[in-house]
């Protein structure tokens, strides 16, 4: 199956017409284990417009990663539709670049710079252009001093920066992120959240971001899609576009609201499960 990728022009066109870039319509997604269907996401619907940062928030195991994998094209929904612009049978492709949580997502045998160049070469860019772009994103993600190092010589935070730079350098129509900062210490984590916000602002990239941290959802997101326990459905889509500053009253109000949504379906759930 050959898939044509979604170009920047298509995304701009959609933005002009106020049309969604990604629509998830009554998607039911899961796994077949020993011949038996195991449904993780029961019925999810939401839309992502160009330039938005959409957060997928829900308890651990509710199917956030599963949903992201379906958007990335790694798995196919049992039912419903996932549409990217006009395409609805999705196979994995660089127009939906993924940043994973795992630190070992970089190619260990390539230097940082080559890790960023290589995927660009695979989408048909010539050497010079790919190199120029790599340098651009190395600068953007504060990675210049590490350009010639190998991944094993980097800290966790640096590795995730490289993964983000590599994904952005491919000019994806949408950037998919699966708890990219989940394994980082608190300090590095908030640094990277801030950097991601700055980079998103600069590039205008559309992001679908999985997290189980309420604070992260409010701080990074424009809108938060809240999922409940599996087989999960969308409880509510919360707009947090206007709250940026954790010191603001609005910020804590948004967090309280999200926390109440998350614990509504589950009496046994303690607040400690969420930050």
């Amino acid at each position: 199956m050959k898939s044509q990728t979604i170009s920047k022009e298509t995304v701009d066109e959609l933005a002009r017409d106020h049309k969604p870039l990604l629509s998830v319509e009554h998607a039911q997604i899961g796994y077949v284990v020993n011949g038996k269907a195991h449904v993780a996401v029961g019925d999810a619907s939401f839309e992502v417009y160009p330039g938005e940062k959409i957060m997928l928030l829900g308890p651990s195991g509710c199917g956030k990663s599963t949903l992201l994998k379906a958007v990335a094209g790694f798995i196919e929904p049992f039912a419903g539709n996932i549409k990217l612009a006009t395409r609805d049978t999705l196979v994995p492709g660089p127009d939906r670049a993924v940043v994973f949580q795992e630190f070992d997502q970089l190619f260990p045998w390539k230097s940082v710079r080559d890790n960023i160049i290589y995927p660009q070469r695979m989408i048909g860019r010539d050497k010079d252009e790919a190199g120029r772009r790599a340098d651009e994103y190395l600068t953007l993600m504060h990675l210049e001093p590490a350009a010639d190092r190998y991944p094993h010589q980097l800290s966790g935070g640096m590795k995730q920066r490289v993964a983000i730079a590599r994904a952005l350098a491919m000019d994806p129509a949408i950037l998919l992120m699966d708890e990219p900062f989940g394994a980082l210490d608190a300090q590095t984590r908030s640094r990277l959240q801030q950097e991601l916000n700055e980079v998103a602002e600069r590039t205008g990239v559309t992001i679908l971001f999985v997290t189980h941290s309420i604070q992260e959802a409010v701080y990074v997101g424009h809108r938060v899609v809240v999922l409940n326990n599996p087989p999960s459905t969308v409880v509510e889509v919360v707009d947090v576009r206007d709250v940026h500053d954790p010191a603001d009253e609005g910020f804590s109000e948004a967090m309280v609201h999200l926390r109440s949504l998350l614990s509504a379906g589950d009496e046994t759930l303690s607040d400690a499960a969420f930050e």
């Binding site: 994995p92 993924v98 045998w109 995927p119 695979m122 094993h152």
Partner: protein, 284 residues
């Protein structure tokens, strides 16, 4: 795999800020001089023993005589010829073994039945010392190079196939997902992700394969020598024993050891320039 060395610097990037006591100890010398000194001491003890004890030179030659036999053997050519013959057979057998191992690994990676066959064959043939099939090989092919080649190929196929297929099956799934995400599939995914990701296993499989092959060819040639065959290093040693040219026996042994060490160094060098440099295997 390998264990971490005592002196290994775990913090990266590395710079030489090691805290050391100022007193020079044995452990503070670099590896090279340490080994050279030990070797020198060993040779000195050997020479002293032969000179002082008056042991029969037909039983133990002095290092000096061995060195002379070694130089003579290579200059005059008999030892050199024997070495070349052995290396040529080894190389041919290794190539055959590697090709067969590659085919088996490919089948085992892509098909269930291939994997089952590989597991079955390796569990039967790998524990069997390869030299044990030499009589059968002689029976089938006669006292010739073909028999040798079969035995050695058999010695190298299994360690290589086991390691490489293990390497392919344990490729980090996140890297595979990244590969597919950037649009790789089929042959390109194999070449650009699977093969490099499996490299640590592949190299250690080759390393073990060559070591097995080297031991087996010498053993097989010794048996051939006894049986009256002509040719390589094993034959050279056996011939020297027959004519009581004891220094030549030692010279043959030294040659075998040196080539074994050289093979090991080649693989260690390749590892250092690849998987160790990339942090996929800790250095030794």
């Amino acid at each position: 795999m390998t264990t971490l060395q005592r002196d290994q610097d775990l913090s990266v990037p590395r710079d030489d800020g090691k805290v050391r006591t100022s007193r020079k100890t044995w452990g503070s010398l670099p590896t090279g001089p340490r080994r050279a000194l030990l070797l020198l001491a060993l040779v000195a003890i050997w020479q002293a023993y032969v000179s002082i004890s008056g042991v029969n030179p037909l039983l133990i030659s002095s290092p000096w005589d061995v060195a002379k036999a070694l130089v003579e053997g290579f200059v005059e050519g008999r030892l050199l010829d024997a070495t070349l013959i052995t290396l040529r057979i080894l190389l041919l057998s290794m190539l055959i073994g590697m090709v067969i191992a590659a085919v088996m690994t490919t089948l085992a990676t892509w098909t269930r039945i291939g994997e089952d066959i590989l597991v079955l064959l390796t569990s039967i043939l790998n524990p069997l010392p390869s030299i044990a099939i030499l009589p059968l090989a002689i029976l089938w092919f006669g006292l010739n190079t073909t028999a040798l080649t079969v035995v050695i190929a058999n010695a190298v196929i299994w360690p290589i196939a086991i390691n490489v297929s293990m390497g392919f099956r344990t490729v980090n799934p996140t890297l595979l997902a990244v590969g597919r995400n950037i649009g790789l599939s089929g042959w390109r995914l194999v070449r650009d992700v699977l093969v490099p990701a499996a490299l640590p296993h592949t190299i250690s499989g080759l390393k073990t394969g060559w070591a097995f092959g080297w031991r087996t060819i010498i053993a097989a040639e010794l048996v051939f020598g006894v049986a009256g065959g002509k040719g390589g290093l094993g034959f050279f040693i056996n011939d020297a024993r027959y004519f009581l040219r004891t220094p030549e026996i030692f010279a043959g042994l030294v040659t075998i050891a040196l080539i074994g060490i050289a093979l090991d160094l080649v693989f260690s060098y390749v590892e250092k320039k690849t998987v160790v440099k990339w942090g996929m295997k800790s250095g030794t």
